[in-house]
């Protein structure tokens, strides 16, 4: 599988990274280099093999469904690029 300029444009869009037109071609080259190298995994017979989760068998811990944290509005907003009256200020979303 090799990626072309069009695919790179689509992937950049999905990754929400603005890629200038002149970078699409070189990026396709770089990505193809890496993807070609990754292709060797197709040699491995993975028929009937379970995907790996962890080397130490454990179950996801459960806890009581209680609120254990919160009430930290100012802390949550402390690093926001723009805030007003205890809210995040975001670009206009609805016209």
């Amino acid at each position: 599988m090799s990626v072309d300029k069009q695919t790179v444009r689509k992937v950049a869009r999905l990754a929400r990274i603005a890629v200038p037109e002149e970078r699409l071609e070189p990026l396709a080259g770089e990505l193809n280099g890496i993807l070609a190298w990754i292709e060797q995994l197709n040699e491995v017979d993975v028929e009937g093999v379970e995907p790996m989760t962890t080397p130490v068998r454990m179950t996801l811990p459960m806890r009581e469904d209680n609120v254990t944290d919160g009430g930290k509005r100012d802390q949550v907003l402390a690093n926001a690029p723009k805030t007003e009256d205890g809210f995040f200020v975001v670009p206009k979303v609805v016209e």
């Binding site: 599988m1 990626v3 695919t7 790179v8 992937v11 950049a12 999905l14 990754a15 929400r16 990274i17 603005a18 890629v19 990026l27 770089e30 990505l31 280099g33 890496i34 993807l35 190298w37 990754i38 292709e39 060797q40 995994l41 197709n42 040699e43 491995v44 993975v46 093999v49 379970e50 995907p51 790996m52 989760t53 962890t54 080397p55 130490v56 454990m58 996801l60 811990p61 806890r63 930290k72 802390q75 949550v76 402390a78 690093n79 926001a80 690029p81 723009k82 995040f88 975001v90 670009p91 206009k92 979303v93």
Partner: protein
């Protein structure tokens, strides 16, 4: 009195308890040394001098009262990946801007709970993505080691290049680091120090900036095996804030250091003898085998047939998980914002284009591609199945042996730019370390010799899941046999 900054962590802790010197004295000694050296070495990206002196004062009060934790008064460096309350934390990425956490990572909190003193935040590859620390927004650190008769600047490895530089150049007693594909062990080998990645789940990932969640583990860089054991004991804990944290007691690893390895079975995996490996690495490995034999261990040849698939699998799993983890950097809630044309989508796309460096963008693109509709099974799922095969290889080997001995890196530290601009050539640096991440196993790098150019080389010991003890025992045996005492020649 010997120079306080040159002490090992264990000796410094003992010296503080015995009141041979105060925490204020040793902390001030480090701050003076950092002030003098950091402009040349670029190990620290933030120096927290005031905080350090306050913490030292508190430690001195505890010590005077005959109290104090296991690291009371000991000055440490913290990789910029760990959130530290009130101290800028950016994982050396522009996208985090001046992000200053309002909370503390569990690993660093564990250190402060035992009385350690924070000197500052250490340089690293952006989001820990790199093997040479060249992708940091703050510029690259410089390895204190140089080739004989050369002033070429060498990398201290990556991603924990700042942690390795600071530890090797006596700018801290020890440092925290993290390891996703070798980011503790490769810098340890390049800087002639010790580094261990524990079993996945031993150290909490709470408050550690995420790269690839199924691979990331914290661990220390230190000047001796004993120091590494002491650091790791304090760093690890069961933590409700991390659902992958193992709820198991932390063993007393410091007690394993120096224990006899007589009767232990050590495996030597033939697949780690790779094409183009320098003869000196081969020689070092044979020397390591000879040392362990002399110490009473039995050497057994083993095979890990899927080794060569580890790196390609890693370069699917890690970018895929990164693309998901790094989706949080949207320029809205924290970090830097670049508005583009002012629309929401343009804000996201411009923020991420300006905020992420080239290597991070490349990996996010790979990760997004392999997770995109129609490709998930062919790439990510297949890679996760290959991981199972790699783990099975290890499990079969561990039916016959107690630990594995391998080289830590395929070469000594290299000069900046010497790898060219082929990303895959740089990725190959992690060929010996990445398998332990994929399988979640503990692995330690320990300095074992000097090559003909005067640079340190390291060996790696990989243990069974949860058997860090074997890593520490075998590494300590290598340390004792190697008598590695060479220090980098001071040029800075």
């Amino acid at each position: 009195m010997t120079n306080l900054t040159q002490l090992t962590l264990s000796d410094a802790v003992d010296g503080l308890k015995a009141k041979k010197f105060s925490s204020k004295e040793i902390t001030q000694a480090f701050l003076t040394e950092i002030d003098r050296s950091n402009r040349h070495l670029n190990a620290y990206v933030v120096v927290t001098a005031d905080k350090a002196l306050k913490m030292a004062d508190a430690a001195d009060k505890n010590l005077a009262a005959g109290k104090g934790g296991r690291l009371e008064g000991a000055p440490l460096g913290i990789k910029d990946l760990f959130c530290t309350a009130g101290v800028r934390t950016t994982a050396c990425s522009n996208i985090l801007g001046e992000f200053t956490p309002t909370y503390e990572s569990t690993v660093t909190q564990n250190l402060w709970n035992q009385g350690a003193v924070m000197l500052g935040k250490l340089n690293m590859d952006e989001f820990a993505m790199g093997s040479s620390n060249e992708t940091s927004r703050f510029g690259k650190p410089t390895n204190p080691w140089r080739r004989k008769g050369s002033n070429t600047q060498l990398t201290a490895g990556g991603s924990s290049g700042g942690s390795a530089t600071a530890t090797a150049a006596d700018l801290c007693l020890a440092a925290t680091a993290s390891d996703t594909g070798g980011s503790i062990r490769q810098p340890a080998a390049f800087a002639g120090i010790v580094g261990i990645k524990p079993t996945y789940g031993r150290a909490s990932r709470y408050g550690m900036v995420a790269f690839a969640s199924s691979l990331d583990q914290a661990g220390p860089l230190a000047k001796s095996v004993k120091d590494a054991a002491l650091m790791l004991e304090v760093m690890c804990s069961a933590d409700d804030k991390d659902s992958t944290s193992l709820h198991l007691p932390v063993p007393k690893w410091t007690a394993s250091v120096g224990k006899s390895i007589k009767g232990m079975k050590i495996g030597v995996p033939k697949e780690y003898r790779v094409d183009g490996m320098p003869e000196e690495i081969e020689k070092l490995w044979s020397q390591g085998i000879a040392w362990l034999k002399a110490a009473g261990a039995t050497i057994i040849d083993v095979s890990l047939p899927h080794t060569k698939y580890a790196l390609p699998a890693y370069y699917i799993v890690a970018p895929a998980e990164a693309s998901s983890n790094l989706a949080r950097y949207d320029g809205i809630r924290y970090g830097a914002r670049h508005s583009g044309d002012g629309s929401l989508t343009s804000t996201y796309e411009t923020t991420r284009a300006k905020g992420f460096g080239a290597e991070v963008q490349r990996r996010l693109m790979i990760g997004t591609y392999v997770l995109s509709a129609g490709y998930y099974d062919a790439y990510y799922l297949r890679a996760q199945k290959v991981r199972t095969k790699i783990l099975n290889d290890f499990e079969q080997a561990f039916e016959k042996v107690d630990a594995l001995l391998t080289p830590a890196t395929p070469s000594a530290a290299f000069g900046y730019g010497e790898k060219g601009d082929d990303p895959v050539a740089m990725y190959l640096n992690d060929i010996f370390t990445v398998t332990a991440n994929l399988a979640g196993l503990p692995a330690i790098a320990v300095p074992a010799g000097i090559d003909s150019q005067g640079l340190p080389l390291g060996l790696q010991v990989i243990g069974k899941a949860l058997d860090e003890e074997a890593c520490f025992k075998v590494a300590a045996a290598i340390e004792a046999a190697a008598q590695f005492k060479t220090r980098p020649q001071r040029w800075w």
